[in-house]
Symmetry: C2
Subunit: 150 residues, 2 copies
Amino acid sequence: MNERYFEDLKVGDRFKSSTYKVTQEGIISFAREFDPQSFHLDPAKAKQTIFEGLIASGWHTAAITMRLLVQMLNLAEGPIGLGVVELRWPSPVRPGDSLEVETEIVELRKSRSKPNYGVIRLHNVTKNQRAEIVQTMTAAALALRRKLQA
Amino acid sequence: MNERYFEDLKVGDRFKSSTYKVTQEGIISFAREFDPQSFHLDPAKAKQTIFEGLIASGWHTAAITMRLLVQMLNLAEGPIGLGVVELRWPSPVRPGDSLEVETEIVELRKSRSKPNYGVIRLHNVTKNQRAEIVQTMTAAALALRRKLQA
């Protein structure tokens, strides 16, 4: 598929990602490096916690969502993240879950400071294989403009 | 240091983390798994982009911040992330940077649905070795209460 530019997007456009299979090894390895808490690290200890089993770090879910987003949007130069205005984890992610992301473009405007780029605002919902929402996020990013690249 | 409980925190409390050294290998390895874009993956291609060199994924910065937060707060059972209301990356993180996090407790309340937990609201600022702000984040988390654990 050709790379997309800012001009290829319209407010209301919706995209659906491929799926990402979450493994116990992946959950533990991410947690060991970035979120060393027993409910992310140790299946036996996790059973004694409020989650009653191993769950992925919310930051792992966010990182997986980013991976699915990058592939799905396929923007020239990629989306350059500006920030996030809302990020929630309504349900936990567990070993064996398959995640996918649905995105809606909610705002598009030219960048005031960077004439080669436009600002896109996205609402992203990450769901598991039972269609339970594991993450919602509204984010802003820069996307390269086509016209000035000719 | 003893683990902290909800009751050990006061609004206005401030904490400062240890430091985390960011390496080029770490940036590339995170990006390969979660944010495969040329400015995070390839030092030569990154020079041709708006960033003029390799930078870390914002989600990598967020994950490193979480690691520093978990160690610094040392909460019994750890902080259970509920969500983030604001997350920004004002300056990029580059290979060799040393990051540290400053946190302020901005709100504390009992959880309505989970009597064993309190809700804490934190404002976190992640800085590099030149005191440039690389991330700001306001987040909410659950912390275990001591009194009901006796």
